[in-house]
Point group: C2
Chain length 179, copies 2
């Protein structure tokens, strides 16, 4: 057992192997609760609007850490009881106050060293309306020649944008492995 905790904080903080298991889990020394941690699914969408003849992509500047001030597509943790498409539609509304019709799966991007799996859709905005939700400082509809490639929040965002730009039709599985 290793105590990995701030000793003033409560909750599961001792690493121990529960009975019948074969690996260490976080357990709470106060109440015995075992926190089974598993990889988390993030769902989001590359959302586009045809502005005259030009395709524009909806991006959000993050108002929260990590990577506050950097640009992202609308995306967030899938919640219990919702489909991945429902989660993407919800996140687009929560972060960018935009409404979409989902076109299809753009791809699955896994990041094992932080135990995250991105499920990314491509979607068409049903109107050009957008506005920052509480987790965004700003939202923008940007052409491909305006993309802030050097100020994207995460490798997954670059992957999603490039994948959409280069090959939107075909779902793709990619692993970002930095272990």
């Amino acid at each position: 057992m290793t105590d990995t905790s701030d000793s003033t904080a409560g909750g599961p903080r001792l690493r121990a192997v529960p009975e019948g298991d074969d690996r260490e889990r976080l357990t709470c020394p106060d109440c015995g609760y075992v926190a089974y941690e598993n990889p988390k699914v993030i769902t989001g969408a590359v959302c586009t609007w045809q502005d005259g003849g030009e395709e524009k992509v909806l991006l959000c500047r993050r108002a929260i850490e990590p990577r506050r001030g950097f640009w992202t597509i609308p995306a967030g943790f899938l919640e219990l009881g919702e489909t991945m498409v429902e989660g993407a539609v919800r996140e687009v509304w929560e972060e960018a106050r935009a409404e979409i019709e989902v076109g299809g799966l753009l791809g699955v991007f896994e990041i094992p060293h932080i135990s995250q799996i991105y499920i990314v859709y491509h979607a068409r905005m049903t109107s050009p309306a957008h506005a920052p939700g509480p987790e965004s400082e700003a939202t923008e509809l940007l052409g491909w020649d305006e993309m802030p490639w050097d100020d994207l929040a995460f490798p997954s965002i670059r992957w999603a944008l490039e994948r959409y730009r280069d090959e939107a039709a075909r779902p793709h599985l990619a692993t970002h492995d930095r272990r």
Copy 2:
């Protein structure tokens, strides 16, 4: 706040909305820990062996609940820090003591009412060796005319087997929605 607990058990058991959040989470009244529950990813594989000219599929009879005694492909919860392919290879070894080479993604099958997402690969066994691991009562290599269609453990298993039989080459996204 609703106390959904068995009053003798510890751990997160009160439903309350944490500060800054917008939905109820399970919290621990003893220590204040918030258990953020998210959908879980299950990874597994349809594993085949060419027996003479006949294709056989590796199935396991479950030794544990739920659905003890029913048949499944090797599959289980993705663990922290592993890729989905690594998880599938691990589960095939843990449940069926078989070694595989993963061929590709068979599909993604989401079950929102129980918040599970199956990531299923197709894989070739590198030898016909197999044996039950601790979570299996038996393992079998079965031809397509021997499939226990009426005794499969879950709808996801039927989906995976049918998908492999009918269209192994093309990754597929399906939703099993019973809400």
